[in-house]
């Protein structure tokens, strides 16, 4: 772990050709060692450079140092959990320009709690019955077919079933007295026949609450308020992705009455669908600080750094004959500079899967994503400076596999 700094120093000396683009990043030291025990080493857990992105399985993001400070601070005193949610919720609502807010155990948890809030209306007697006994509650949630995703299981966990529609006409026909909510998957907006604003308009017309799942949809920062202001009644975000809060935290934003109702289905309230989705005071405060830090960031500077980092990796890869690169920015969700590496396997004799494994097994270990056709890389969750190591390893592996 401490070696990474030495590796970087070494890189600076031996690789002047790569040295220009992200020079400013090198001012920050990669891993600041302010702890005594190295638990990952003790446990034999491999640590790695995250060139993939904010994937839960890869522990998504590293919390900002300010977040860890807030966690350390929060650990020293007892407070009432409900009072903390009240105050943090108020502050978050103010910062994010919405009526109400609560910290949840991730975006998935926000979806379940929000749905539970809608169907129970915050009635503890109803909260005590879902998901097995839905008597007297609405039981259907409408979603567009193109918005189907594994995450919609979060809705079903509240005891409701999903009704699929494709067109506005179908949607309006599907609405009945059992309709509890209409659910929207933000990143699928371009794929759906009904777009976000129209979806909200239909919800308002029939007085059905609408929920938008924006899990990985910052940057841009404006998205934090864009959808509540558009009129979605509830909006869900992941806290441990682009926001770099605690990885097991998320946000439920929206109408005050629905947030209150959602909280009746969450800890510390027992006998609820959400009691297992625990968030402690450290995470709640950590999440608030993460939002503050995120909103205060120079987002242009972040963007400019990511662009330069991607260029560094791009140039290193392109220096190997037969390699082609695609620089792209996903429109929604993980909307950051990204690069896709492909090559002519006649000139470079290694498959993308083999290359990914080589990056993983190298030292330091590097995680990337992509299918059997490409290596996909983002730099936004790297510790600044690591892009040099990635660029070097990418080039090295591609060169070694090159037919000379």
């Amino acid at each position: 772990m401490t070696k990474r700094r030495d590796i970087l120093k070494g890189l600076m000396m031996t690789l002047p050709l790569l040295g220009v683009a992200s020079g400013e990043a090198l001012a920050e030291s990669p891993v600041e060692k302010d702890y005594d025990r190295d638990y990952f080493k003790e446990l034999g857990v491999r640590t790695f450079i995250n060139a993939a992105g904010t994937y839960t399985a890869l522990t998504a993001s590293l919390p900002h140092p300010e977040v860890i400070k807030a966690i350390n601070y929060s650990a020293l005193q007892f407070v009432k959990l409900e009072e903390l949610q009240d105050r943090v919720g108020e502050r978050l609502a103010e910062l994010l320009k919405c009526e109400g807010a609560m910290v949840t155990s991730g975006a998935f948890s926000a979806i379940t709690l929000g749905t539970a809030g809608v169907v129970t209306g915050g009635d503890p007697e109803k909260a005590d019955r879902i998901p097995t006994d839905m008597t007297g509650m609405k039981t259907e949630v409408i979603r567009q077919k193109s918005h189907r995703v594994g995450y919609d299981h979060a809705i079903r966990n509240a005891g409701v079933k999903i009704v699929e529609v494709e067109t506005r006409k179908e949607l309006e026909a599907a609405i009945n007295e059992k309709t509890a909510m209409m659910w929207f998957l933000n990143y699928a907006n371009p794929d759906g026949k009904i777009k976000d604003a129209e979806f909200v308009e239909i919800g308002k017309k029939y007085k059905i609450p609408t929920m938008n799942d924006c899990a990985a949809d910052v940057p841009p920062a404006e998205n934090l308020w864009k959808y509540t202001q558009m009129g979605f009644d509830l909006v869900c975000f992941s806290g441990g992705k682009g926001l770099r809060g605690p990885q097991s935290a998320g946000l439920l934003l929206g109408r005050k009455d629905l947030i209150q109702a959602a909280r009746k289905n969450a800890p510390p309230n027992g006998s609820t669908v959400g009691r297992g989705m625990k968030v402690n005071k450290e995470e709640i405060l950590g999440m608030l600080v993460a939002i503050e830090v995120y909103l205060n960031r120079d987002h242009q500077a972040d963007w400019s750094l990511w662009t330069k980092q991607i260029k560094l990796i791009n140039d290193a890869a392109l220096s190997v004959p037969g390699v082609v690169t695609e620089n792209h920015i996903p429109e929604i969700a993980n909307h950051v500079p990204s690069i896709r590496l492909k090559w002519d396997t006649k000139k470079v004799k290694i498959t993308p899967d083999e290359m990914r494994e080589a990056l993983r097994k190298g030292h330091p270990s590097i995680e990337t994503v992509g299918g059997s056709e490409s290596i996909d890389i983002t730099t936004w969750q790297m510790i600044p400076g690591e892009e040099r190591i990635v660029a070097k390893r990418v080039k090295e592996i591609l060169q070694q596999a090159s037919v000379s």
């Binding site: 601070y73 959990l81 502050r91």
Partner: protein
């Protein structure tokens, strides 16, 4: 100024009372902080001395420095979440003499994930179907003794199962059928149930049904961490953020290897399942392991002695107040630590329990006690106090009682 000095000063100076709720006491927040910002104060939050115990709504327990260090250390690097799960699970399993273990988002989450694992096994199709069991081919009933049904069983029904309530062995035998998924035992209600651990286990073995035990708050004694695994329960659930002082949002599910593996399919980082909303991050997992390891290594006899001494400090401060009686109570199971019941004669001390608890709460420093069990009586625990706080608690209770003495 360190905490001990603050408390010394507090116990010398006459205490200001009557601070409004929401106004945290300056001096309590003057403890050595790693951050310059005082976030609780910024948010107008009341911090308090916890003389109540491990209540989730009161944030239960405070983590020790080694746990905080572990959290900080783990926050610096990326790791595969499943690998952290594997390795931390192995360590915990060894510590608790179980075949396997996993860190969950609290004991409740352990109950949900464990039950889900029993229902789905390693079948991803079944995982995707919960909590709709109808027509899925999965079993759908969990048998519980009537006296063990007290709210926590909702964790089981979150997976879609229904609860079958029984009282006697005979009834249980009759209730078991092809839909029976599991037998469930709430450890803290053992004394009031007609069927005890061993018999319950035998029933399970006889009918080849997995047996789950919920022991959320049931350490100390430390031995309970392995007692029920060794006894033969297939799954055991415990809270991580209570007496063990791990992260408050963690718990442990331990037991049979294949059942833990199945439970993990129903939780993060796997998606599209019943448990994805019960997120635990790598910091919490490692923090939980370190807390458990440290807890087991503690000098438990010494801890007990310290608790008794604290109880004595408070008890002796109240002996002088006329009309007040005290009794040391040690709950047999769950929160099994010395506690002090303080009762008063309303003819001599005219104050209701609620008003008394309120005065302690709104006083300075704010103190939370158990103020909901009996009329004209409160109960306090001392195991969540920081060193020296017992003196503050003794003084404040004495003060408030004397104020209403005839």
């Amino acid at each position: 100024m360190n905490r001990r000095e603050i408390i010394k000063r507090l116990s010398l100076a006459p205490l200001a009372t009557g601070l409004l709720v929401g106004a945290p006491l300056e001096s309590l927040n003057a403890a050595p902080l790693t951050a310059k910002r005082d976030l609780f104060k910024e948010l107008g939050l009341r911090t308090f001395i916890n003389a109540a115990g491990n209540y989730t709504s009161m944030t239960a327990s405070l983590m020790h420095d080694d746990v905080m260090e572990a959290i900080q250390s783990a926050s610096k690097e990326y790791a595969m979440l499943d690998e952290v799960h594997d390795k931390v699970g192995q360590k915990i399993a060894v510590l608790c003499k179980a075949e396997a273990a996993m860190v969950t988002a609290g004991c409740w989450s352990a109950l949900v994930l464990g039950t889900a694992g029993v229902l789905t096994g390693m079948d991803p199709k079944k995982v995707a179907q919960l909590p709709k069991l109808e027509g899925s081919g999965m079993k759908s009933e969990v048998i519980i003794q009537k006296s063990h049904i007290n709210g926590y069983h909702h964790a089981l029904t979150n997976t879609g199962v229904s609860i079958v309530s029984v009282e006697t062995l005979e009834e249980t035998e009759k209730a078991i059928n092809e839909k029976t998924a599991m037998l469930w035992f709430l450890n803290r209600e053992a004394p009031v149930g007609k069927i005890q651990h061993q018999e319950w286990l035998e029933l399970g073995k006889k009918h080849n049904l997995p047996n789950m035990l919920d022991m959320a708050a049931d350490v100390p004694p430390v031995e309970n961490l392995w007692k029920y695994n060794v006894m033969g329960f297939d799954l055991v659930c415990i809270s991580g953020g209570k007496a063990i002082c791990g992260p408050q949002s963690t718990g442990i599910l331990m037991g049979k290897k294949e059942l833990i593996a199945a439970a993990r399919l129903n939780g993060p980082p796997a998606g599209g399942n019943i448990g994805r909303g019960m997120k635990v991050n790598k910091e919490e997992m490692i923090g939980m392991y370190v807390a458990l390891d440290s807890y087991i290594k503690r000098d438990h006899a010494q801890d007990w002695k310290i608790w008794e001494e604290r109880i004595e400090v408070i008890k002796s401060a109240l002996n002088t107040v006329k009309g007040v009686t005290t009794e040391v109570i040690v709950p047999p199971v769950a929160n099994h630590t010395p506690s002090l019941e303080i009762s008063w004669d309303r003819n001599k001390l005219n104050i209701t329990r609620d008003e008394f608890a309120k005065r302690l709460r709104t006083g300075s420093p704010s103190i939370e006690v158990i103020g909901w069990e009996k009329e004209d009586s409160i109960r306090i625990t001392v195991f969540m106090l920081k060193t020296g706080q017992e003196k503050v608690v003794a003084k404040r209770i004495q003060e408030e009682l004397l104020k209403v003495s005839a």
